[in-house]
Symmetry: C2
Subunit: 137 residues, 2 copies
DNA sequence: TCCTCAAAGATAATAATTATTATTTAGGAA
DNA sequence: TTCCTAAATAATAATTATTATCTTTGAGGA
């Protein structure tokens, strides 16, 4: 189980520490794009002595090494996303819920659109949709 | 000149104060989606005694009254946008530059796409594109 | 002109994040 | 396996953006 995390860390050239494995596991386990606080709370169960600063530093190093990406909401807190494929986000306007939205057909549509509609003086690297609305459940 | 600001404030039922007019003017004048700090720095020239708290409070009331909207970036600072039509944003991955991107044809394309591709358990209110890349100039 | 309540100013408080520094430890070398 | 060193962690302090509090001021209606 944790072998996957250890292996991935090693591949990225990151030292395999219990804290890093725990944080990696926490993000994979926690849904809804956790905040640093969510992650800290979750990890405290098994690693009561983990330092808050460590969590922030590990998260930063994960983002740098493309194990995670950051997500911003209307509220002012940074959240983390462990899904690294090209995907979009559904934002609930009532709660702080964020869901991933993957749609290959949509990606192609957008890609084709911008192929024929260049933006002047701008080279596109990535297009992400922020889809705001309400969940029915 | 400032009559426009005074008139708009009045219409929204907001008391017309020199601070509010100055902040309104600053946002309209400053390009690149200013931060609160940018706005404060700009206003200090003519209103050296303006209070930082006042600026935040005025900005909040403007957002509430739909004179402004907030923009989220990867970085940790709130930025403000005085353009209120449905538009998208170009984010420079190298600098903190953000430009508005208006494209009615794109809006229609996306709207039509989601008309025929409903997302289950989700009612879309708004779709915004975060277009990341590099400016050529 | 006067009055009142909302707005502004000053300041303190908060909350998330970052920086600092001493201690510990992963992992390669002997 | 043990030792060594650079890197990682823990503890703590500092920072930064923002919000709250509370007193004073002034916009705008009576």
């Amino acid at each position: 189980m944790s072998d996957f995390y250890r292996k991935t860390l090693k591949e990225k050239g990151l030292k395999v520490t219990p804290q890093r494995v725990a944080i990696f596991e926490a993000i994979t386990h926690l849904k809804n794009h956790p905040t640093a606080e969510n992650i800290i709370a979750y990890i405290k169960k098994n690693h009561p002595n983990i330092s808050v600063g460590t969590v922030y530093k590990v998260l930063d190093s994960f983002v740098e090494n493309k194990l995670l990406s950051k997500v911003k909401t209307e509220k002012d807190i940074m959240r983390y996303d462990s899904v690294l494929t090209n995907h979009h986000h559904l934002y609930c306007t009532e709660t702080d819920r964020i869901e991933d939205y993957e749609d290959e057909q949509l990606n192609e549509l957008i890609e084709n659109y911008f192929k024929t509609h260049k933006i002047k003086n701008f080279n596109i690297q990535e297009v992400k949709l922020q889809i705001s609305g309400k969940f029915n459940n």
